[in-house]
């Protein structure tokens, strides 16, 4: 596939003070976004990390011009969709979107789906066919061009969906929880494909996810909670605020962790102690000995702080894993 069309502006996406409220008939309005401001530079990748209900999808819909904010401004590649249909069209022609559910017709073949996608962008004939084939080759689905999408596995369908979103060579790729329902291998393969695509061009990527390992792969992460950005920065910078290491053990041992001088939080039945690496290791070793002796300690885990820990520290609530359970 050809290189994406690069935009001259250094900033790909600018969001300022976005508010979006959903009215309900017999309940108070839901504030999905409450003053969100974010900037994404051209060629950068940003993860919107937060649990279900944090406001990520609403934010993606605003960037994709599928919705309008109640207040605040959206500017994508220098265009403001509120300025009219022409600006909206300009944005849409340069943005590719992968939604939580793939946007393919299961009754059509992979090639027919890609040709339809090309037509949506005014690309027809040999150019469309050529792009469809190249996209299929790039995403490793060339041998399935004649297969109906309904016959593909979830992982393959996702790859075709990514090929669909990239067919018109967008400058910005929006990925809204794109790996939902995929197994670990398919998920990794999908994310690798995006990274490979990024490495071949100046593609700006915005990924919304509730999975830490996905967010970890992006240049920058914005932690979203109840419609607000509570922190943003590189994954390393966000995790680095916790010092060296963390030790996780039984909730009942939080007092011992505190007495060792660690900063302690209790999450999902676990006590988590953060502090200097040396102190953490010494405490963990002591607890491990007790665990081995069956002295009231069931588990001891030591590791570097994760984005989930950062999220917890900042919001007081845990991120969810793939199945919706707290980690």
């Amino acid at each position: 596939m050809d290189q994406p069309q690069h935009d001259n502006s250094a900033t790909a996406i600018e969001l300022a003070e976005l508010r979006r409220t959903y009215q309900q008939r017999k309940a108070p309005p839901i504030v999905a976004l409450d003053g969100v401001s974010l900037t994404v530079e051209a060629g950068e990748s940003l993860a919107l990390l937060g649990p279900n209900g944090a406001g990520k999808s609403t934010l993606m819909r605003l960037i994709a011009t599928l919705d309008r904010p109640d207040s605040g401004t959206v500017r994508v590649l220098g265009e403001d969709p509120s300025e009219g249909a022409s600006a909206t069209r300009a944005i849409r022609s340069k943005v590719g979107v992968v939604f939580q559910q793939h946007g393919l017709d299961p009754l059509l073949t992979v090639e027919e789906n890609l040709m339809n996608q090309a037509a949506l962008y005014g690309i027809t004939g040999d150019d469309a066919r050529s792009r469809a084939r190249h996209a299929a080759i790039d995403l490793g689905v060339a041998d399935r061009l004649a297969s109906r999408v309904g016959e593909l596995s979830g992982g393959l369908a996702r790859r075709v969906d990514l090929a669909r979103a990239l067919l018109h060579q967008p400058s910005v790729l929006l990925l809204d929880e794109p790996t939902t329902g995929l197994d670990h291998l398919s998920r990794a393969s999908f994310l690798d494909a995006i990274e490979q695509r990024r490495s071949t061009g100046n593609l700006t990527v915005v990924l919304s996810t509730h999975l830490m390992d996905e967010a970890q792969r992006m240049d920058r992460v914005a932690l979203i909670d109840h419609g607000k950005v509570v922190a943003e920065g590189s994954p390393a910078a966000l995790c680095g605020g916790f010092g060296g290491l963390l030790v996780r053990t039984d909730a009942g041992l939080s007092g011992e962790l505190e007495s060792a001088g660690l900063d302690v939080r209790t999450v999902g039945g676990e006590a988590v102690g953060a502090g200097e690496a040396g102190v953490v290791l010494e405490t963990a070793q002591r607890l491990s000995v007790r665990a081995g002796a069956g002295d009231g300690v069931t588990h001891v885990l030591v590791g570097p702080p994760t984005l989930g820990d950062a999220y917890l520290a900042l919001t007081g609530s845990a991120l969810e894993d793939e199945n919706g359970a707290a980690p």
Binding site: Y22, I30, A32, N52, G53, A54, G55, K56, S57, T58, R61, A64, T65, L66, D67, R68, P81, A85, T88, R89, A90, R92, S93, V95, V97, F99, Q100, Q101, H102, G103, L104, D105, P106, L107, L108, E112, M115, N116, Q117, A118, A119, L120, Y121, G122, I123, T124, R148, R164, H226, G227
Partner: protein, 269 residues
């Protein structure tokens, strides 16, 4: 080629492809009305002669055929319109709406594709006309097909306008049945307006499907001319429904808040 034209052509083709790949849809939209037609025609054949009808149409089988054609147009058009809800559920609609293609090309392809499929199915049923009512001539057959096509355009457009706002196929079916079943029953499909009670006759005269059915009937009846009122109403009905569908979809376009599924609303996302 503009994105609008390219999209319109490509998505119309998609509608036709989808139809050929859904055998159950073909069976449901033609089979059910055909069975009803056969049973009604067979069951009433020797029991009733339609009042006020002379000539070939005095045979009940010949009389009921235009009503069956109307029913095929209605059934098929409902299925076509309902596919918009499927597109929304499957995520296809959202992917199309996020592209720069104009809305008219996306919804227009649905309307044209759906109406074309319905018309083709009506044409198949109309092939029975020479056997039950005599050969009306090619012109008569084509006029009957035109009337059926106008009914298909009207019902497909009406369905699309509704499907744009209704999220569930159950809700869509409920509303469409509420509107279309009385319209079809009062279309003169089973009994002529002449023999109906006064109040029902009045209702039938304001029912656009009655006039399209009349136009179909006149087309397949040898030596019969279609009343001008029937054509005026048939064209007006199709045009009005097209405009309503255009207005409904166009309104979304102007607010930039088209009806795509927002599952996350319930979870505050």
């Amino acid at each position: 080629m503009s994105a609008g034209t390219a999209t319109f052509i490509s998505l119309t083709r998609r509608e036709l492809l989808r139809f050929t790949r859904q055998p159950s849809r073909i069976v449901a939209s033609v089979g059910a009305p055909a069975i009803m037609g056969i049973f009604f025609a067979g069951g009433f054949a020797d029991s009733f002669a339609p009042p006020g009808i002379e000539g070939p149409q005095s045979d009940y089988g010949a009389f009921v055929l235009p009503g069956i054609v109307t029913l095929v147009a209605v059934f098929s058009s409902i299925f076509a319109a309902m596919s918009l809800i499927e597109d929304r559920r499957e995520g296809f609609l959202q992917s199309a709406l996020v592209s720069p293609a104009p809305l008219w090309s996306i919804v227009g392809a649905k309307a044209v594709g759906g109406s074309s499929i319905a018309s083709a199915q009506c044409a198949i049923v109309l092939l029975a006309a020479p056997f039950v009512a005599g050969w009306p001539g090619l012109g008569g057959m084509l006029l009957a097909l035109l009337a059926a096509a106008l009914a298909a355009v009207a019902v497909t457009s009406m369905g699309l306008a509704l499907a744009w706002w209704v999220n569930s196929s159950e809700g869509f079916h409920g509303v469409m049945n509420l509107i279309l079943m009385p319209m079809w029953l009062l279309s003169g499909a089973f009994f002529p307006a002449q023999g109906a009670a006064g109040w029902m006759n009045a209702l039938m005269s304001i029912n656009p499907l009655r006039w399209t059915t009349d136009a179909i009937r006149a087309g397949i009846t040898p030596g019969t001319e279609t009343p001008i009122t029937a054509w005026v109403v048939a064209f007006g009905f199709a045009l009005a429904m097209l405009l309503i569908a255009g207005a409904v979809v166009g309104r979304s376009s102007m607010t930039a808040r088209p009806r795509t599924r927002r599952r996350k609303i319930k979870t505050h996302d």
